[in-house]
Amino acid sequence: MFKDLNPILHSQLRLAVISILISVKEAEFTYLREKTDATAGNLSVQINKLKEAGYIDVSKSFKDNYPQTVCRITPAGVRAFEEYVRDLQAYLNIKK
C-alpha cells in the first residue's frame, strides 16, 4: 500500500511555491509569481493555504512605499516537503 500524498502539497502551484522556498531563505511574492508564472490572485490563494497549514510564514511590510510580501518556509513546511518527497519516491519506487 502506498501512503497517500499530502493533499496540501500535491497541487501544482503549491508544490512549485514550496519547492522554491525550500531552496531559498525567503522570497518576495513578486519573485514567486515570476518563477511560477501564476496570476497574483491564484498565487495569493495558494500561499494562504500553505500559511494556514503552517508550512510557510508570510510577513507583510512596505518597501519604497509599496506593499511587500515576503514568504519563508517553516520547519513544519520543511518536514512536510521531505515527507512528501519520500512518499513520492516510494510511490514511484525510486531507490535512494
Binding site: 500524498l5 522554491i20 531563505k25 522570497a27 518563477k35 501564476a38 513520492l88
Partner: protein
Amino acid sequence: MEQEKELSGQESLALITRMINKARRDYLDTGLSALLWGSVITFCGLAAFVNTYLRWPVLDYVWFLTVAAVAPQVIIAIREAKNRKYRGYEDDLMGGIWISFGIAIFLLSYIVNAYNVSEVASLFLILYGVPTFATGYARRFRAMIIGGVACWVLAVVSHFTPFPYKMLCIAGAAQLAWFIPGLIIRKRYLKAKEKNV
C-alpha cells in the same frame, strides 16, 4: 500555472526539480563589487610598481584609494540588497566571510605599518585568497576557486621576488581573483537581465 491540476507522481517530481533548479540558477550577483576591487587593487599594484621608477610623491599614497573604494562598495551593496527579491541560505555566510576579510585587511594594514613588517605583499596575497577561494567553493564558481589558488601561488612567488615585482604579483592576483571573475559574473548578470525584460 493557472488552474489547480491533479499531478501524477512523475509530474510532481519533475516540477520539484524544475523549481529547485530555477531558484538555484537564479543566484546572480551583479559582479560590480568584484570589478570594483579587481580594478582598484590592480591599479594600486601597477601604480606602486611604476612609481619605483617614476618616484612621484603622490603615488606613494596610491593605496589610500582602497579606503576611498569603500564608499562605492557600500553604495553597491545597498543597491543590490534593495533590488534583491529573495535571500539565499548562503547569502549571510558570504556576507560574513567578506566583512571579516575587510576587517582583517584593515587590521593587517595597521599592523604592517605600525611594526614595519616585511613580506607585506605575501601576507596580503595569502589573505586575498581566503574569501575568494571560499566564495568560489561555496558558489561552485570555478573562476573564483582558480583566483583564490592563484593568490596563494602568487604569495609564494612574491616571497622570492624583489620589491617592485611583488607589486605585479598583487596586480596579477587582483585580476585573477576578482576582475576576471567579476567580468564573468557581470556578463551572466546582464544576460539574465536581458532575458527577464
